[in-house]
């Protein structure tokens, strides 16, 4: 078991593969898997807390900060992801990418990667592709 530091205090996180055998997934399980996957993306320093108020997925006795799951219709899923990006990584990527032909801004490349990883994680969990994945950059440190 890995310690979870996504804002839930005493709770412990399972590795994403553990969910596959646990039967029906709760929203906090899904959010937890997304947090783990996003953390490994280069340039992502951590998970944000939200801008107006704390953004989190709440479950019985626990919550996962920075990820909000919504079900617009039964069986559908919309996800809101809040991330904090690494300023040094962005600068390095900008200087490295100045010679390449890709003109996509660095931040959008990062958010595209976040969206791809979220979709991939849901696919691994056997869930359908989400209708919407909103990504918010809460901070650049």
């Amino acid at each position: 078991m890995l310690p979870l530091d996504a804002g839930s205090g005493t709770e412990e996180a399972q590795t994403p593969t553990a969910y596959m055998v646990s039967g029906r997934l709760s929203d906090t399980d899904i959010a937890n898997a997304i947090v783990h996957a996003i953390r490994d993306i280069p340039g992502v320093l951590g998970i944000g807390q939200g801008l107006f108020a704390r953004v989190a997925t709440y479950g019985p006795g626990k919550h996962i900060t920075g990820i909000a799951l919504q079900h617009p219709t039964p069986g559908d899923l919309s996800i809101e992801v809040h991330v904090v990006l690494d300023e040094r990584f962005l600068n390095k990527a900008l200087s490295d990418g100045s010679s390449s032909s890709d003109t996509t801004p660095i931040l959008l490349r990062c958010t595209d990667q976040v969206r791809a990883v979220v979709s991939q994680t849901l696919e691994q969990l056997g869930l359908p592709v989400p209708l919407m994945i909103d990504v918010t950059i809460d901070d650049i440190r």
Partner: protein, 192 residues
């Protein structure tokens, strides 16, 4: 509060103000209950207010005046908050969702970039959204020996390139003000 809640609060405030105005008019004898309820809606309620004794009418007027005051304050606060600029910028919106960046992140990025310009000691910056792009304003504290106009131009170019390269938002204007005097530090109140 989200937009729905805010709209409900605004509508409720307006209803409360309208109700109190009707009570004022009824108590003052300016209108009759039948005039404010053409289809008989709330007729018994309006009649009750119209038939209050002078003591009860005074109490009703005072209570309604207080309620109107609170409603006007709530309404003003809601309208002021609506006019305030959002704390985030939408960078992209497509069929898969929205990508937004916090205003504070853009401000921070401007700060980082400004600090890398030689001769700049410290900066204060603001970022606002204009019609044709972001409007950035940077106040920079410079070393006394540097060429301020040259550093200012470098700052403008660097900030613009950084925002467009990192975030992809158009930059309409970068205003740079240079100074040699240190920024005022926020005063600390001594706790006794």
């Amino acid at each position: 509060m989200n937009v729905f809640n805010r709209t409900i609060v605004i509508l409720l405030s307006l209803v409360v103000i309208a109700f109190c105005i009707i009570v004022f008019l009824l108590v003052g004898g300016v209108v009759r209950p039948s005039q404010v309820s053409p289809v008989g809606l709330l007729l018994s309620l309006w009649s009750y207010f119209a038939q209050l004794t002078s003591t009860n009418a005074t109490i009703a007027v005072i209570v309604c005046a207080l309620i109107v005051l609170v409603a006007v304050i709530v309404l003003s606060l809601e309208l002021i908050m609506r006019q305030r600029e959002p704390p985030q910028f939408v960078v992209r919106e497509d069929k898969l969702g929205k990508v937004t960046v916090a205003r504070s992140s853009v401000r921070r990025l401007v700060g980082y970039e400004s600090a890398t310009v030689p001769g700049v000691i410290e900066t204060r910056q603001t970022v606002d959204k204009g019609r044709d792009g972001l409007r950035v304003s940077v106040r920079a504290l410079l070393l006394p020996e540097v060429d301020a106009p040259a550093v200012g131009r470098t700052l403008q170019e660097k900030v613009q390139q950084s925002i467009q390269g990192h975030i992809g938002l158009p930059v309409a204007e970068v205003q740079v003000a240079t100074q040699l005097e240190p920024f005022e530090k926020p005063r600390r109140r001594r706790v006794r």
